[in-house]
Amino acid sequence: MDELPIQSGDDVVRVRQHVRILAAKSGLSLVDQTKVVTAASELARNALVYGGGGMARVEVVTSATGRNGVRVDFTDDGPGIGDVDLALTDGWTSGAGLGLGLSGARRLVDEFELTSKAGAGTSVVIVKWSR
């Protein structure tokens, strides 16, 4: 598993590049690579902007049925999300954004698990499987 810090805009770009490399390695199509990299970009930015920085852990995983995929685990120690369901609603934003980052990222991947508590940081795990 590769650990990448998210402390600056440059780091967000590095996370994208790294996810791209492992997505290609796990055999995802170009469209699926683009989807998971875009989702990773949204989540890395969230960790930076709303979480005050964090960490991305990227790895190639294999499913029970033998399919390869890429898994990314984002964590931050920020203020957390009080209402997770609300935060996952299209168009809802706590900042100046469009409110598509979190909900859009969820649509772009196969598995999406968000764990957060107000005051205790946020963790988002995404997986995209090859077809």
Binding site: G9, D10, V12, V13, R16, Q17, R20, L30, V31, Q33, T34, K35, V37, T38, S41, E42, R45, D90, G97, L98, L100, G101, S103, G104, R107, L108
Partner: protein, 117 residues
């Protein structure tokens, strides 16, 4: 932070994005374009994203804003060269880039601009 160069050809400003965009770079591009639009009185902006591998919600919003800003300076913006995978992803993300005109490539973009002036 890297900067995206802006070229003036005739009455059109050409921007070809060849780097991995980070948020600050896009914000800077927006400011640079506004300055150039005033300085050059250009009537059109072509943004070539052939080399851009992903457009996420922030970058998409900034591109839409560049379109709105140029309109305030009486210039039309055309986004050209979007990769098929980027188009599919943007749509699934829920981003419509409303208000920004698009064309298949730079040549078609120029035709669009000359037809609209």
């Amino acid at each position: 932070m890297e900067r995206v160069p802006i070229l003036k050809i005739g009455s059109t400003l050409f921007v070809s994005i060849q780097i991995d965009l980070q948020d600050e770079t896009v914000i800077r591009l927006q400011e640079d374009l506004a300055t150039e639009l005033v300085a050059t009185r250009a009537t059109g902006v072509i943004i070539d994203i052939t080399a851009v591998e992903i457009v996420d919600s922030f970058i998409g919003r900034m591109l839409t804003m560049i379109g709105s800003i140029s309109r305030l300076f009486d210039a039309e913006t055309v986004l050209v060269g979007m990769r098929p995978a980027v188009a599919i992803t943007l749509t699934e993300l829920g981003l419509s880039l409303r208000g920004v005109r698009t064309a298949l490539n730079a040549e078609k973009g120029l035709e669009l601009l000359s037809g609209s002036s």
